[in-house]
Amino acid sequence: MTTSILDLGADRIAETGAEGDDLRLAEALRQGLECAYEELLSRFQQPVYNLALRLLGDATEAADVVQEVFLKVFRNIGSFRGHSTLKTWIYRITVNEAHNARRWFFRHRRREIELDTNPEDTRQWKEAIPDRRRSPYDVAVEREQHVMIEAALSRLNPIFREAVVLRDITGLSYEEIAEILNVSLGTVKSRILRGREALRDQLAGSLNLRPALRLVPKTAE
């Protein structure tokens, strides 16, 4: 029984870019090769968007951050020397950009102007993907749980939120997170622990936190 505990973590996202590959891509960007710009976007736009979305909890803000991030990446690729991976370099820019004061100011002012952003916009994509495996009841329960988790995540201390999101949403290793946040491995470990404890406390009672059936190790992915 105990070995199955570890299988839960077996879905580490596969490494796509080795270091040499990163340097090649960076050099191709510096040379202005069209395919390099396409490759960078196709590799990173989706994860950067999801990271920004979970850090900020708002689709419009996340979209602004993503644009700023890629502008910085394109303009500063000359300073990328391969001391870190392209992945940690870009995620680091993303975390910093999410807490950039200048952007923050506009974001909050805009929020005051558009008091009510249309929730339909963010909901559409969820409804666009029907799921035939589960009953409408299961889907509804799951959606409700997601909403609760999202709310709890947004109430979490931002320092813990960063660590938990980088781990559980972006799927990075402790070492990569340490590099992105410029802290020690021990600090990463304790921030993730404290973040999860705070989430558990917030959600206690309101959520079924026992491992459900879908926790069965996925081997196909």
Binding site: M1, T2, I5, L6, L8, G9, A10, D11, R12, R30, Q31, G32, E34, Y37, L41, Y49, N50, R54, A59, A63, V66, Q67, F70, L71, F74, N96, H99, A101, T122, W125, K126, E142, Q145, H146, I149, L153, S154, R155, N157, P158, I159, V164, R167, D168, I169, G171, V183, K189, I192, L193, R194, R196, L199, R200, L207, N208, L209, P211, A212, R214
Partner: protein, 233 residues
């Protein structure tokens, strides 16, 4: 192994970030201790929920805007590349002409630039002492108390009203405090996010929520840390 110690490791165990040596002991304990078993179940469930959160596809209009930006930035780079190629060609050509012209004057010229260097370095100490005088914290005015925070010094940083401007050379963050007095978000308004500032954000908050007519409301405070630049390196 104590339950407390085991529970501290469970989060890392789930992430497969626990060294092999420690893994066995923790696993054995979880298998035999009901309390730690329940703790593990709760954490595994939470982690699965987090990982199961939707990863919405990037919006189509954002995707399009990124593509436009990429092609614009690429153009920009190509222009700069061809410009710098032309410049370096021109520069090497010019240097050759210049060298030939200036060879008889080489020594006097070197003497002249040496003189300029000496003059400049004589000036520099006075410049740097000028910037040192700035470090005497004369910018600091005692903060006016406000209901949303307990003003004071924590981790050698000042907690002040959010409208107080952080001086140059300081590191400062603006915190959003929610109606429960907890830090919801932060933004770096000056300098960088130092380890001290990070620990202040994580503190069990010294903040009590601002109130209007007795009702707690979200508010902002600023945390300023004056620090000599490059202390970290």
């Amino acid at each position: 192994m104590s339950c407390e110690k085991v529970q501290k490791q469970i989060s890392s165990l789930l992430d497969r970030e626990l060294p092999a040596g420690e893994r066995e002991g923790v696993l054995a304990h979880i298998g035999s201790c009901r309390q730690c078993g329940a703790y593990w179940e709760a954490f595994a469930g939470l982690r699965a929920q987090l990982r199961g959160l939707d990863r919405p596809p990037i919006p189509e209009d954002l995707r399009a805007r990124l593509r436009v930006m990429a092609s614009h930035e690429r153009e920009r780079r190509l222009v700069r590349l061809s410009l710098s190629a032309r410049m370096s060609h021109w520069a090497s050509h010019a240097r050759l002409v210049f060298d030939n012209l200036m060879r008889p004057l080489a020594l006097p010229f070197a003497g002249g630039s040496l003189m300029a260097l000496v003059t400049f370095s004589l000036l520099v100490p006075s410049l740097s002492s000028f910037s040192h005088n700035f470090g005497d914290q004369s910018w600091f005015k005692p903060p006016v108390p406000e209901s949303s925070y307990v003003p004071g010094v924590v981790h050698n940083a000042l907690i002040v009203r959010s409208d107080i401007v952080a001086p140059e050379g300081a590191n400062a963050v603006e915190l959003t405090i929610d109606e429960q007095g907890k830090v919801r978000d932060y933004s770096v308004v000056r300098g960088e996010l130092t380890p001290d500032l990070q620990s202040i954000i994580m503190l069990p908050p010294p903040f009590s929520p601002a109130t209007v007519l007795g009702l707690p409301i979200p508010s902002k405070v600023k945390v300023i840390q004056y620090q000599a630049p490059n202390r970290r390196s």
